[in-house]
């Protein structure tokens, strides 16, 4: 018994005695919280690919911002928004399908970012942008992440009912007089901000996992949206912290560890849903895939 307690103590306390681990855990918590909230909306709206696209597309923005000495967040934000707007424009003005257009735009921007990176003098490490650099977080990074995450969280939580109605049933949202176009672009802005906030922790390539898994896990476990938000936040923050601690002990990259812990929790939730909840309901779920109280 004492062995287990001592082991757990070492697992948590040893990393915490380092300054860089304290900062990493703060960033992990912030990133987890803001990604979790956004992921609930993306999962309901079917925008997982949008999260993937915007996150790759921020790369040229980061490279240009770093070359011009601007805050990276600004460049990333502009590029992410450009990707979303360009996708909408190309889709509306050609006969190519939306997912294809999105694939073209984000891969083109990502490729451009890579090419620019070879030509631009910058103090950034490409691999840190791509995969995050959780263990190298500085105090200034913590502040930046906190500001971006704080703004995003505050806006989403303040407008959570309007956004929910928009994701759930855009026609109804329009009918009751909500500004649907504003909500659409508002959600895209929030998505870009979230990706900016997560750069430090998981980088542009793995952030899509943070933007899908927590919401999807919560979606399996509840049919009430408020509860879904809470579960997603708990899952994301818990796995961010656990993943960071694990990566410290096994000496592996942090981003992948966080994503794998999330995936493990998803699998547990899936089994729980299959074995426990189904039995408790007493009959198999006969509804077609995708249909639910939470909507299409």
């Amino acid at each position: 018994m004492t062995g287990i307690v001592a082991g757990a103590w070492n697992f948590v306390a040893v990393p915490l005695s380092y300054g860089f681990m304290q900062r990493a855990l703060v960033v992990a918590l912030l990133t987890g919280a803001v990604c979790a909230v956004l992921s609930c909306y993306l999962v309901l709206k079917g925008w997982s690919l949008m999260g993937d696209a915007v996150s790759h597309a921020v790369l040229p923005g980061i490279v240009i911002a770093s070359a011009l000495g601007l805050p990276l967040a600004l460049g990333a934000f502009a590029a992410g928004l450009f990707c979303a707007v360009a996708t909408g424009y190309l889709k509306d003005n050609s006969r190519v399908k939306e997912d294809t257009v999105m694939g073209i735009v984000f891969s083109g921007m990502f490729g451009l970012g890579l090419v620019l990176f070879t030509k631009v003098e910058t103090d950034q490490h490409l691999l840190h942008i791509l995969f995050g650099n959780m263990l190298g977080v500085t105090a200034r990074d913590v502040t930046e992440t906190a500001i971006v995450a704080g703004i995003t969280l505050a806006v989403v939580l303040a407008r959570r009912r309007d956004l929910l109605l928009y994701c759930f049933d855009p026609k109804h949202a329009r009918a009751v007089g909500l500004p649907v176009a504003w909500l659409h672009y508002g959600l895209l802005v929030l998505l870009s901000l979230t990706i900016v906030a997560s750069l430090q922790a998981v980088g542009v390539i793995l952030v899509v996992a943070m933007l899908v898994a927590p919401g999807a896990t919560a979606y399996l476990l509840t049919r009430r949206f408020e509860r879904m938000l809470l579960i997603a936040a708990a899952v994301a923050m818990g796995s961010s912290v656990l993943g960071t601690l694990v990566s410290f002990h096994i000496n592996g990259s942090t981003g992948p560890c966080i994503v794998l812990v999330q995936a493990a929790i998803f699998v547990i939730a899936l089994l729980w849903d299959q074995l426990i909840l189904r039995r408790r309901r007493g009959r198999p779920d006969l509804r077609p895939a995708g249909a639910s109280n939470l909507g299409q």
Partner: protein, 285 residues
């Protein structure tokens, strides 16, 4: 002038250029079908899912194609399982599975950094490809191209009209399995050239560009293959002057060609549509 010929003086550049051209051409062939069905996300997901297989194969010194294929199969199985047992939307299911696989691959590489670098998996490393790997890529691409040339009409019929395809005696399931097998092996080849993050462009952009330029599927394939081959060869050539970023250069070229087609295509381009719109307005009383 002679400066422009410098890349051809290096064996590794010549090899990179023609291997890229081959991979780009065959990927473009497949892109005609993927674009048609709206399966772009599948290409991206496959490219990320095979990464743990590639990392594992390098670690165990097995042929990387075998590892990649195994991982791709596992990921497809995982997606099918999750999709049939939950009420989640398909895009979320694909998103969860492929990111988990990709993360597993990255973790494997980060723990054993000696076997293969993260950078060459994520961003490709065609300029430094070993002769062994190049041979695997060429065999894969040649076999895929051969099968596609034999079966392209059957696949076209299947994807346009499955009921009709069944009526004329084709076997849809077998053909689909064949198509996804070809797609996943080509993904493996493309991973070597442009890296996991940019495979999606190789298997989507040329087909979409060709779709703006023609209404006939046979011609669409020909245009797509021409674009894929030319942009890949040119991208590899230009990357000599950039000291790297071959994948980025290829994809940027493909995107530029797409944008040009979007603007200038004779019938489906933006300018043509504008002209038509003003023409109609001008004739109105």
């Amino acid at each position: 002038m002679s400066e422009l010929l410098v890349p051809f003086a290096y064996d590794y550049m010549v090899k990179a250029i023609w291997v890229s051209a081959l991979v780009g051409g065959v990927c473009a062939f497949l892109s005609a079908y993927l674009m048609l069905k709206g399966w772009s996300l599948m290409g991206d997901a496959l490219a990320h899912s095979i990464v743990p297989g590639v990392a594992g194969a390098y670690l165990l010194k097995l042929p990387y194609a075998a590892g990649a294929f195994f991982a791709g199969l596992l990921a497809a199985l995982g997606m099918t399982l999750v999709r049939t047992h939950t009420r989640l939307r398909e895009d979320a299911v694909i998103g969860i599975v492929f990111t988990a696989f990709f993360a597993a691959g990255l973790l494997l590489v980060s723990i054993n950094p000696t076997a293969v670098s993260i950078q060459s998996i994520a961003l490709g490393n065609i300029l430094g490809i070993s002769d062994d790997d190049a041979r695997q890529v060429v065999v894969i691409a040649a076999v895929t191209l051969g099968v596609l040339l034999l079966k392209w009409k059957d696949l076209m019929l299947l994807f346009f009209d499955e009921a009709h395809a069944r009526a004329v005696g084709l076997r849809p399931v077998a053909l689909k399995v064949l198509f996804f097998t070809l797609l996943s092996v080509m993904t493996v080849a493309a991973l070597q050239t442009v890296g996991a993050c940019l495979v999606i462009a190789m298997v989507v952009t040329p087909g979409a560009t060709a779709y703006l330029l023609t209404d006939r599927f046979g011609r669409l394939i020909a245009i797509s293959v021409a674009i894929g081959t030319a942009t890949s060869a040119a991208g590899a050539y230009l990357s000599y002057f950039l000291d790297g970023a071959t994948g980025g250069m290829i994809v940027v070229l493909q995107t530029v060609v797409f944008l040009a087609a979007f603007l200038l295509a004779p019938r489906h381009g933006l300018l043509a549509a504008r002209r038509k719109a003003t023409g109609v307005a001008g004739h109105a009383p």
